[in-house]
Amino acid sequence: MISTIRIQTQDFDLAAEYQLLRQLKASVGAVVTFSGLVRDLEQQQSINSLTLQHYAGMTESLLQGIVDQAEMRWDLIGITVIHRVGKLLPSDQIVFVGVASQHRSDAFEAAQFVMDYLKTKATFWKKVDQNGQQYWVESKSSDQAARDRWSTDD
């Protein structure tokens, strides 16, 4: 399996990432992509911007670990994970996960698994600016629950 992991300030091009995954092998029958975008509201209040901090080095290894787990659990041809850091505005793209496989259930499940683990394990932190007031976003118990679906011994 071919995996690509990138953490970057610049935007990503979903179309280009999709074409790369699609062309990995002639046996690719399914490509699932997930894009996370900056929503206009946080706690029912409109936001000016979002700033993403991460722990350089550690984040990459954690993401690699998540991708490796996905490779062991499903029959996959390729996974791409891209996460942006720095200052982002509403509607900006934050995160991309793309998975190519022969059969659709592998791609769907692996993409969802990677997102659920990324949300709860990867060392990113979000700060919101609402009219000049900055605060760090709290983690959500729904994200923990989503991750816990995938294992009982985690």
């Binding site: 993403l52 995160v95 949300k119």
Partner: protein, 82 residues
């Protein structure tokens, strides 16, 4: 010398704090946290929250893990990426 890193909301409470401390025998993350108590009660409170994790040289470890000279110790509040 031990390098200290505070991420997310913990960084706000650690402003002005030295980014490194001297290595001493038997040092643990818990000891580092307690040693910060003097001038920064709010930070120590934050670091004592059960959701806070610590990493040593970018590996998650327990609060009583021995710290050797040259290590990088990071304090990690719950992550919120994606």
């Amino acid at each position: 010398m031990i390098k200290l890193l505070f991420f997310g909301r913990l960084g706000d409470f650690a402003t002005g704090l030295s980014t490194s401390i001297d290595a001493v025998d038997g040092l643990t993350p818990a000891a580092v946290r307690d040693g910060l108590a003097a001038g920064h009660p709010q930070l120590v409170y934050e670091l004592s929250q059960p959701q806070v994790l610590i990493s040593l040289n970018q590996m998650i470890v327990d609060w009583d893990h021995p710290i050797v000279d040259g290590a990088e110790l990071a304090f990690l509040p719950p992550v919120t990426g994606g």
